[in-house]
Amino acid sequence: MIFKKFNIENKKARDLIPQAITVLALLSVIIYFATNAQINMGNRGISFGFGFLNQEASFDITFSMIEYDGSHSYGRAFLVGLLNTILVSVIGIFFATIMGVVVGISRLSDNYLIAKVAEWYVEIFRNIPLILQIFFWYFAALRALPLPENGISFYDISFLTIKGWYVPKFIWTNFNIFLLSVIAAFIAIYFINSYATKQREQFGKQLPTTTISLATLIILPLITFLLLGVSLTFEYPVLKQLSPTVFTYAGGVSIIPELIALALALSMYTATFIAENVRAGILGVGKGQKEAAASIGLNKNQILKLVVMPQALRIIIPPTTNQYLNLTKNSSLAAAIAYPDIVLVFAGTALMQTGRAIEIISITMLTYLTLSISISIFMNWYNKKMAIKEK
């Protein structure tokens, strides 16, 4: 309506005005903030820059997958935090997917009880804030576990205690050869599958691809054990007395309770959303598709594998990837229970020590942003690839 007053007939010029106003407003806000930031940093005697990443961090991190202690740099601390974030996200995604698929299929079960239980699982865990679930597992449930000296033992090789879960450590010899054999197995499976697809499409022959693939995956690594000198031994955790009243476990790997609580809460929470996606996906495949498949003589498993799943997956995968992304972002709640993820280590401890708020928050946000954007680019590519090609 404002633009009517100008009575500009030329559309180009008319479009220019609101755009120019927006850009100018944005620029002035940015300049205002930047000048203030410069003055404030000048007052505190700090200058903008990322040189601090090479300085000695001089703080310890309770849980690290790579070698780290106080003498390493802030950059290294960032890496430790990032790896911990990735670790908990991968664990969470793994279990959330399994649970989500099971619950989603259960919701469609013709068994009334199972369907109801699954429905209530979704309703309960979806409607409680994730942070409360994390607090519940960490402060209430895991704190009720016994002390190391009477830890819950699983056949004496693994112990669950209040201080964490002690599991055997894998000690490999010639791990590289084993890894190569696994990679080789996957490559072989890829070729077997493409060969089977060709056979099916050209001659209508069905090959037992699942059995062959599984056999390859087992046999190839097994050969390395028998012939190529790969071996695997376990180092079991053993109870050790530190002082008359304090016990701990030596050897093995200790999974800290923060990680357990976080992975548990993340996967149980995200599983409810994945379950809903799976359910919607399966329901989204028209009844006619199943009937048509049955009428050309496919059996129940073939219908599921060849007709229902390919179509359902097309509906399931995009929102599920979104949930994976949410899980990764939600893993930042780790800071609440002191699991040393990127937010706690970097945006917490490192920020307190250096006072470089702008640089550190920007790096943290950029890290998450990179993660999100790369996943959405991948998703767009995948969607395009999977979209129904109509002729």
Binding site: K4, N111, L113, N127, L132, A357, I361
Partner: protein, 417 residues
Amino acid sequence: MNLIAKPSKDNIKTYVPVGLSLVSLSILDVFVYAFFNFNLMGFLPSQLSYFLPLILGFIGFYLIRIEFSGVRSLDVLNKNINSNNFNALLTLFTIFIIIKSIPPMLDWFILEANFVGNSKDDCTGDGACWVFIKVWFNRFMYGLYPDAEQWRINTAFLILFAVVGVSFFVSEKLKKYFILFLVFVFPFLGIKLISGGSFGLEYVESAAWGGLSLTFIISAFAILFCFPIGVILALGRRSSLPAIKYISIGFIELWRGVPLITVLFMSAVMFPMFLPDGTFIDKLIRVLIAITLFEAAYMAEVVRGGLQALPKGQYEAAKSLGMGYWRMNALIILPQALKLVIPGIANTLLALVKDTPLIFVVGLMELAGMIGLAKTNPKWLGMAMEGYVFAGLVFWVICYAMSRYSQNLEKKLSTER
């Protein structure tokens, strides 16, 4: 190998009673063992008596699985929980697990729990110490807000409920004014009432606010502001003007790409650096801005979904009536687009409510934060379970009610196409 005939309509007279009694026996055994700790089949070897209920139940279910038995209730039972061997096993497992988990839950929540008393010492049972919730209830609801002034929060919420309640009964014409009041007048009136500082009300600083009432205040304000911003961002993203379009896209993707906790960190430690030296913006307001912008980005994506789903004809029809951009959107496009995405909007608002506990990052304490504070009180150590179960229940009731309401709204507003 035809010792037992396959269950069919011919032997229904013998099989069904036997099968039903076997199933009942197996459930009874588990029930008695779970509730009274008495093993009915204790005389059997321990391994056998452990699995016997499962075996008995399984045989029982096999015997009563008679197709087209002609007995309606039996058919319904078979169809729903006993359609094949696998389903029968699943049914048994589910029933057993439910029965097994009832007694410990019942004990913890009610039978062994303590309800009366004023201190931790009054909690003598093995169950929950609800005394903890009772004693701290006031704090859980109002935070550190002074006791004498709590009537102000109550009044604000009472007015809200009263106005909402009355608005259900007045005519459509008056309803409009009620909604206008609720959206444009009440929030600021309410916040003035709670913060005080004028009209003879004592000033209460926002750091003292907390508990469940803070959850409501933050959710309400964030919802109020994030909705219009989200709509504008969505329109911006669909705009044909490149500068506005790309700025909107950048803004939306920036917020959607980062976790809320880092946004809150930013509002706490980085934002003050961007303001002139000496300017101080209240913590609560900073948090509110952060949450609002964050959720607005999600809202924008939901609204965009609705805008994209509208057929092009709607835009063309509006334009052919001579409507301008804003009138077209306000009168034709948005009412339809928003109706399409009610579930998405409800989910975003639900996420917003569930995100409010995160404000602990900047030191504000709503319900979950207050429980964190109470459980570290030296006099009340070891009360985490009670606290978080209580908070979980409260949030669950709120969120479940919201999701149910949105489902009803969706049904009510859905128009046949």
